[in-house]
């Protein structure tokens, strides 16, 4: 929202970062154009994912937030521009090497029916394995730790079809955790969950960040939960970033009108003090 510091526009980006001109960021993207064939969804986008923060990407349906997340996790190659990890182009790094730094949880992940939770979570260790080293003691302790963090240890031997939606989501998050990456990209980790389970999952995400110092980027639909659990919000509309910064800075009544075309009041959350969005809606407007 503020003008770029003068240092960045003169010196090369990487050196400016190391000299402490801007907050540290291992993962960033420059001048991204993303889309599928003729259909361009994101154009001319720059983003720095700040280290040791939880960033929530918000925006209306079809604004390109999932597309951006897929590009950051090299699931989608940019038509133009680059995603850089530690200063190196992510599409030129060996994909297995990237997988040891960035973990991605897609929006609707799939797994075979009969797979057990332990087997699912163990697949998160794939980037650390070879054909002859498939279940080392490192693998075993990483899987056990991931299951413990999500409270899924007792369900280790259940198959996925025996779990509730919330448990299944926790199993998937355990898989991403077992991957042991510093960065986690989560695409709508709370989809299909009731409110209590949404809060559970986000509490877990926040704990991972607070206790293990992981950097998390997640796409979220619920603005109030995003404001509560994220250190930074990135608001997108029509493939561009409209605003980014702390939730209190970003989540304003003007922004909601501009980005979501939503008439709403923003009041302090009575529990957390973060912005709370209260939509007006047609029913209450005239009265």
């Amino acid at each position: 929202m503020t003008a770029l510091p003068a240092a960045e526009s003169v010196a090369p980006v990487a050196t400016a970062r190391q000299e402490g001109g801007s907050p540290p960021s291992r993962l960033h993207a420059e001048n991204l154009r993303l889309g599928y064939g003729e259909n361009v969804i994101v154009d001319g986008l720059d983003i720095d994912v700040l280290d040791n923060t939880v960033t929530a990407v918000i925006g209306p349906n079809g604004c390109g937030k999932s597309t951006l997340l897929r590009a950051l996790g090299r699931l989608l190659n940019p038509q133009q521009g680059h995603v850089l990890l530690d200063g190196k182009r992510i599409d030129r790094m060996p994909t297995k090497e990237v997988a040891r730094v960035i973990g991605v949880l897609p929006q609707t992940p799939q797994a075979p029916e009969g797979l057990t939770v332990a087997d699912l979570v163990a697949r998160g260790r794939h980037p650390h394995q070879t054909w002859y080293r498939q279940w080392s003691s490192d693998d075993e302790s990483a899987v056990a730790e991931a299951l413990r963090l999500t409270g899924m240890l007792e369900f280790a031997e259940r198959t996925l079809d025996q779990l509730s939606g919330g448990q299944r989501q926790r199993a998937w998050i355990s898989m991403a955790l077992a991957q042991g990456t510093d960065l986690l990209l989560l695409d709508e980790p709370t989809t299909y969950l009731d409110l209590a389970h949404q809060v559970d999952v986000l509490d877990l995400v926040y704990r991972l960040h607070a206790e293990a110092g992981r950097t998390v980027v997640m796409v979220l639909h619920d603005l109030n939960l995003a404001a509560r659990y994220a250190d930074r919000l990135v608001a997108m509309r029509a493939g561009r970033i409209v605003a980014q910064g702390e939730p209190a800075e970003v989540l304003t009544e003007e922004l909601l009108r501009e980005v979501f075309e939503l008439d709403a009041r923003v009041v302090p959350d009575p529990v957390a003090g973060t912005p709370l969005v209260v939509p007006v809606g047609a029913r209450n407007r005239s009265s």
Binding site: Q110, Q134, A156
Partner: protein
């Protein structure tokens, strides 16, 4: 970790799954036994112990001639063809995450069939392919036809990557098209060529010699180790492209290579014995249920493919008195109800 006991030797480590280990071992013993019984049956019957005795180097001269020169190649071709088909089916089912996506459903064996029949019919009536040339020509045409139809199906199903369901639908279309092409070819040839072609088309082990064993054995010796190297990535591939990429798998490359291996296995098997139906479809699923794994196990699928094919050949040769049926009839009779079961079950799943 409960459910995942480790097997660790030096730097190597695996999950120790007792059932997944036992199924191929028991299966292997059953194959050897079925082969011994199959070899023993015939105009000069031999006991199982006589056959096994010859196989380990004993027996008298006539016994050795009957077993090693006359009957072993047939059973061995059956076992190897079944193993190749089982492994091929396990690969394609895992890659596409669809139990219907096997070479015999998706046009690969149909392509091999059309190519082989065109050689039999055209070569037969013009007399250009006879004797030795026809012996090599038919399997070679089958191999080329299978590979070509697989490439065609893959390209037609390609749309920014290949998705399992599209592959099955395009494959079913290709299968129908190539089958009608085959029947049209049959009407062109004269009666003897056509009947020779029909026997080949049902899948037969009759008259198979060492020259049929060798190509399948070489293909398996090369492709089985390669497949096992790739099998580790299969676990990740089975969870969808995005998750697999996130886990550091080069999705399109790995999938293309493994599919190529599967097609080569199916085409070589078809070239040796004709399109033996349903082995590739049924055995991976049976192996998966016996091993209690979440995806078709590679080695167990290969071994059970051999069990099913040799077992079916034994039934085809001996259960109907003097009449010897082609092995493909028996596998089809066993496999067709299973295909119907799969279709009905999938339909219910979609409806639910």
């Amino acid at each position: 970790m409960p459910g995942r006991p480790p097997l660790r030797v030096g730097p190597a480590s695996w999950v120790l799954r007792a059932r997944a280990l036992a199924v191929p071992l028991v299966g292997l013993a059953v194959v050897v036994l079925l082969m011994a019984v199959n070899i023993g049956r015939g105009e000069f019957p031999l006991s199982v112990t006589d056959v096994l005795n010859v196989l380990v180097g004993g027996g008298d001269r006539p016994q050795r001639f009957i077993v090693l020169d006359l009957r072993l190649p047939r059973s061995l071709t059956g076992a190897l063809v079944g193993a190749a088909l089982g492994l091929s089916g396990a690969l394609t089912q895992t890659i596409t995450r669809n139990p219907l996506a096997t070479p015999d459903i998706t046009g690969i064996t149909a392509g091999a069939g059309a190519a082989a029949v065109s050689v039999i019919v055209v070569g037969g009536s013009y007399g250009s392919l006879t004797g030795q040339l026809a012996e090599i020509g038919v399997p070679l045409a089958g191999l080329v036809g299978g590979l070509l139809s697989a490439i065609l199906v893959y390209l037609l199903a390609w749309q920014r990557g290949v998705e399992g369901y599209r592959l099955v639908l395009v494959g079913l279309g290709a299968h129908a098209l190539l089958s009608s092409l085959t029947y049209w070819l049959l009407t062109l040839g004269d009666v003897t060529d056509a009947s020779r072609a029909v026997v080949w088309l049902t899948g037969s082990l009759n008259g198979r010699g060492w020259e049929h064993v060798t190509p399948v054995a070489i293909a398996l010796a090369v492709l089985v180790p390669l497949t096992l190297l790739g099998a580790h990535a299969l676990g990740a591939l089975q969870m969808g492209d995005d998750t697999a990429r996130g886990l550091g798998v080069r999705v399109n490359l790995t999938r293309a290579l493994l599919l190529l291996a599967a097609v080569a296995l199916a085409a070589v098997a078809t070239a040796a014995a004709g399109p033996v139906a349903f082995v590739a479809l049924a055995t991976p699923q049976i192996a998966m249920r016996l091993s209690r794994t979440a995806q078709p196990p590679m080695i167990a699928s290969a071994v059970l493919g051999a069990v099913l094919t040799v077992g079916s050949d034994l039934v085809a040769r001996t259960a109907f008195g003097a009449v010897e049926l082609p092995v493909g009839i028996i596998t089809a009779v066993l496999g067709a109800p299973y295909l119907m079961y799969l279709l009905v079950r999938r339909y219910r799943e979609v409806r639910a």
